[in-house]
């Protein structure tokens, strides 16, 4: 299991050798990428801020939960922070497992939980100048009850 926040560009193909096993028949790699548009506006970049110490802990929690679904601990997740351009990978999630159903399920779980629980925020920069913090999700965790 490998998980990290980084300020450096993510080499997505480099995640593949971090997963896989002779027992595994399925490998799945998800890459989230900065798009050139959102809500009808042209975007030319995105700034990712994080509460780094907490985000590292939460990312570890998410990965451990996903490993239960996956049935293996063969997963690698890297989330980038800082200033990103269009086409840059913001997050990459690699998993492997004996069967594909668990790989798809765990991969999707990780990315959905990252979107709703990871203390990370993004500010879009617009082609026409200016920017704004994107509306986010209010984390719904047992800890909040």
């Amino acid at each position: 299991m490998h998980n990290a926040l980084t300020r450096d560009p993510i080499d997505v193909a480099a995640l593949l050798p971090l997963v896989g096993d002779p027992e595994d028949g399925a490998v799945l790699l998800f890459v989230g990428v900065v798009r050139n548009h959102n809500d009808g506006q042209s975007v030319n970049g995105m700034r990712y801020d994080a509460y780094v110490e907490m985000a590292e802990r939460v990312l570890g929690d998410i990965c451990r939960e996903a490993a239960v679904r996956l049935g293996t601990d063969r997963l690698a997740v890297v989330h980038r922070i800082g200033e990103l351009g269009v086409g840059d990978a913001s997050v990459a999630v690699a998993v492997s497992s004996p069967h594909r159903a668990e790989a798809y399920d765990a991969s999707r779980y990780i990315i959905e939980e990252i979107k709703t629980r990871l203390p990370v925020w993004k500010q879009e920069h617009y082609e026409e100048g200016g920017g704004r913090w994107l509306e986010g999700h209010v984390p719904q965790t047992g800890e909040l009850a």
Binding site: H79, L118, P119, W121, W133, H137
Partner: protein
Amino acid sequence: MKVRLLLFALYKDLAGLEEVEIDVPVGATGSNVVEVLRARGGGLARLPERPVIAVNREYAALDTELFDGDEVALLPPVAGG
């Protein structure tokens, strides 16, 4: 007692600061800290009354009791990925 307060993203921009140490009475909760902060006025008054908070890097309820040296973070709705 002293708690260390962290602000992120939109809240940091609203408040014009990202970190501050504040004095609160023993037994203070997360809510009390938010009240103290908002009462300082200016940009801080624009912080929400009931933000999501984390205490010592874990999501926590606003009525969580704080202790000397705690790290309290005010977290805008998150948007990872």
